[in-house]
Amino acid sequence: MKLFPTQEIGSLAKPAWLVKTTRGQRPSDADLREIDRWAERLGIEGTDELKALLASEHPDKERVRDWAALFAIRLQEVAGLDAVYDGEARRVEMYEYAARRIAGFHFYGHVRSFDNRYYRKAAVIDRVRLTEPFHVDELRYVKSVARKPVKIPITGPYTLAEWSFNEYYLKTVDPSVRDLRTRAHTAKRAFTLDLAREVLHPTLKALEAAGADWIQIDEPAATTKPDEVPILVEAFNEAVRDIKAKLSIHICYSDYRLLYPEMLKMRVDHLAFEFKNTGDFNIVHLFRDQGDPRELGLGVLDVHSDVLETPGEIKDKLLDAARVLGAEKIWANPDCGLRTRTWDVAFAKLQNLVEGAQLAREELAREGLTREA
């Protein structure tokens, strides 16, 4: 494997023609021109079929989603990434998509995120049970068209639990336990472990059977409650029991210090973390000081800014991390999914990521540095 391989983290913005079609609206002429523009840029042929689909009275939405996935895969491949996926083209978002496919959840109504932004938060009202492994067909499609190695992202058990109300498991706590904090902690652990064992584990097994070589488990809520990091780790290990595929964990917008030393018990091969947003690249010393042997996906692209990081800046960050941890451990990636950026910005950022990684390789070769820190 070459040094400083590159990867996306998950979601890309959904094209307007996909969003409108799934809402039952007709894409505009401008939306159709975007299809032509990106098809030419990404070398995608046969888009007449897509346009015919979009023009039909009742478009086959799954087939439209296939096309959206293909565009996203090609965008990453043409940008030059070493591991790709479909930009989560079929998923509403990372929480609700999963929660709606798990028996035991109930959605009441909207909860405010901030200002006039809201999300739908589910309550677990019965023991969770997987109705059908999800993402399997999605993975099969990606594998059928991708020209680069595939890494599939999936939301982790701790985040699913943390972002849900917990009714059922709270009712199962021994009534003699009076302390409300202890009751909540006990119920949270039971909920998270059930999600890991009853939902994530069979889903990961199904994905592996469908050909998943590399699975990224997303846990953005990992450090929300620092005293629950042991639950995060225990649930992760339960979810990945017997899984032979390469395993990543992606955690963003978090204080990574809160994960250690418990994190060392997690059976994971790769940590994909965010660094550009905070600017705190010095935290790579934490992983060395903790003796963490895993690969590190270094977030070097700010996904909340249109400002393009230069290849030179990316190169410097990669080399700085390599000097602390060893170049063989370092991957290059955005902080998180690029879904809040336009495709033009996301593509340009990913191209710079690939170029920055190449510059880092060249500089390392020129300097004759050893691969060991």
Partner: protein, 318 residues
């Protein structure tokens, strides 16, 4: 006598959710949204009155977060970037301090529906001076001591204005004191609150939430307010020897962050345990925090349950 009331922002109705979203997409007008908010205020007041709560709030539907009415109105302060709100999957706009804060006494009256509260025994909810200072970004040349004094002056002006407007009860909310404060901050927080409340004739409270109040309980019960609130889903009282003699404690027993509607007996049991543990003169049943983390229907059910628990507590004669 035990009593009960709400302690923070109430979730928006589905109508307000729909129209506030539509407004951002320019598919609804300010007037449409204002009418929906006024209706929500009437609804939440009705729910509280029917539940028999002792102090009534208007639901704070006009508040984007605990600090926003101040950030939008106080010279020297403005709303900044979006930052996670403690250990929640929600966010607030961090106030940015750009100079000496100018007390106006007009910020909160702009966002409280006085007409809907007329004739009722109503309460107002403000951040504590320490919370405002601690949760803001200081982009000015004011020292931390000056910023805290400024915050106290701003909140004192607001409290005086609320008192003049007929408010019966002022609650200062402070998650920062239990979640973020260093030990040496506690005295400064107390002094700032004393400055903000000095001379007020209304009943006053300091409510803490999201983190364990246990380690500073001895100091908290001595704060210059009539009542002190504790989030029982975050606090551990093991080993706490504080005595809240002569004080009322606000027992945060209704979970504003989980949808399971609590049993009346459990609420009563928890409240009495807290009262007895601290040797308090009285206890009030309250949610542990704002209920804005819940959907509207669940918050309404919990408000009704709060009222039922207060009735049970009174019937028990305790």
């Amino acid at each position: 006598m035990p009593f009960a009331h709400l302690v923070g922002i109430f979730p928006r109705t589905e109508k307000v959710v729909e129209l506030s979203r539509a407004l951002e997409r320019r598919r609804a007008s300010q007037e449409d949204l204002a009418a929906a908010i006024a209706e929500a205020e009437r609804q939440v007041i009705t729910v509280q009155r029917e539940a028999g709560l002792d102090y009534i709030v208007d639901g704070q539907f006009r508040w984007q977060d605990l600090f926003r009415p101040l950030s939008d109105a106080i010279p020297g302060l403005h709303a900044g970037g979006i930052v996670r709100w403690f250990d929640n999957n929600t966010f607030y706009r961090r106030p940015v301090i750009t100079g000496a804060l100018q007390p106006t006494g007009m910020a909160l009256l702009k966002v409280i529906n006085l007409a809907a509260l007329a004739g009722l025994r109503w309460k107002a909810i403000l951040p504590s001076p320490f919370a405002l200072a601690a949760m803001s970004e200081n982009a000015s040349k004011r020292s931390p001591v000056e910023v805290l004094a400024d915050a106290a002056a701003v909140l004192r002006a607001e409290a005086k204005a609320l008192e003049s407007a007929g408010c019966a009860y002022i609650q200062f909310s402070d998650p920062a004191l239990v979640a973020r404060a260093r030990r040496e901050d506690v005295g400064r927080a107390r002094d700032a609150l004393a400055a903000a409340t000095e001379g007020l004739r209304v009943r006053t409270a300091l409510h803490t939430f999201f983190a364990d109040a246990g380690p500073i309980m001895s100091e908290l019960v001595a704060f210059p307010v009539d009542e002190v609130g504790v989030d029982l889903y975050a606090a551990s009282l093991n080993g706490v020897r504080a005595r809240a003699t002569g004080k009322t404690v606000l027992a945060g027993v209704v979970d504003g962050r989980n949808s399971l509607v609590e049993d009346v007996d459990a609420l009563v049991d928890q409240a009495l345990h807290l009262r007895d543990r601290l040797g308090a003169a009285d206890v009030a049943l309250v949610p542990n925090c704002d209920m804005e983390f819940l959907p509207w229907d669940v918050a309404v059910a919990k408000t009704r349950r709060l009222g039922e628990a207060a009735v049970a507590l009174r019937r028990a004669g305790r």
